[in-house]
């Protein structure tokens, strides 16, 4: 299972804070983006950062592991 989480403006667009996707051996971050981005184009339009297991990831070809936690995040505005 892949856990996908959303916060702040992205969570508001998706109207959800968390989703679970079935894990498929060899699936990449790009696969997840393609699937969810088609369902939630507005939300993914404001995604500026992606973290896998709390580490920022820039390479969308990254191969995922079972139980990974993926966060799709808008530009930060804390402080």
């Amino acid at each position: 299972m892949i856990r996908v989480i959303f916060f702040g403006p992205v969570a508001d667009c998706v109207q959800s804070r968390e989703m679970q996707l079935d894990y498929v051996v060899g699936m990449t971050l790009h696969d997840v983006i393609a699937q969810l981005g088609a369902q939630h184009p507005n939300a993914f339009g404001i995604v500026s950062f992606i973290a896998v297991n709390q580490n920022q990831v820039r390479d969308k070809q990254m191969v995922l592991q079972d139980n990974d936690e993926i966060a799709f995040m808008a530009k930060f505005s804390g402080g």
């Binding site: 969570a11 966060a71 505005s77």
Partner: protein
């Protein structure tokens, strides 16, 4: 004593943070702090309150990394970072940074660096409540 890096709903006391910071060394000659507060006016609109959402575990990890990097980069004796979550009323505290060093220049430089980096690297989002409704903030003013 409270941890030097925290995300919390509750307000904090500058005096208590400073006391905790300076208890780490008697060599501390300079302490620079930055306090961010909720303004009543932003981008031309009145703001009554601000609420924060965060990726809590990652935010805390990033803030701890920032503290360690600042201590290393500027030769600090100690540093503290506190960020509030939940809803903050206009005029209240949001974020507090403190950097202590033997001399003033590294303390002042580290404090400035820490708040700039925090805004770039820590997954926290701010929503302003105005008479026109609620808006997520996306700029780094």
């Amino acid at each position: 004593m409270n941890a030097p890096v925290r995300i919390q709903q509750a307000d904090f006391s500058q005096d208590e943070e400073i006391r905790a910071l300076r208890s780490s060394s008697k060599r501390m000659g300079g302490i620079a702090t930055f306090l961010g507060c909720a303004r009543d006016f932003s981008e031309g609109r009145n703001v009554s309150e601000i609420s924060f959402d965060a990726y809590g575990s990652m935010a805390l990890a990033e803030m701890n990394k920032l503290r360690n990097e600042a201590i290393e980069k500027f030769g600090l004796l100690d540093a503290r970072i506190v960020h509030r979550l939940g809803t903050v009323q206009c005029g209240e505290n949001i974020v507090f940074i403190a950097a202590g060093a033997q001399h003033r220049a590294p303390a002042l430089q580290a404090c400035h660096w820490l708040i700039d980096e925090l805004k770039q690297r820590v997954p926290i989002w701010k929503k302003e409540t105005t008479p026109q409704g609620e808006t997520w903030v996306t700029s780094h003013p």
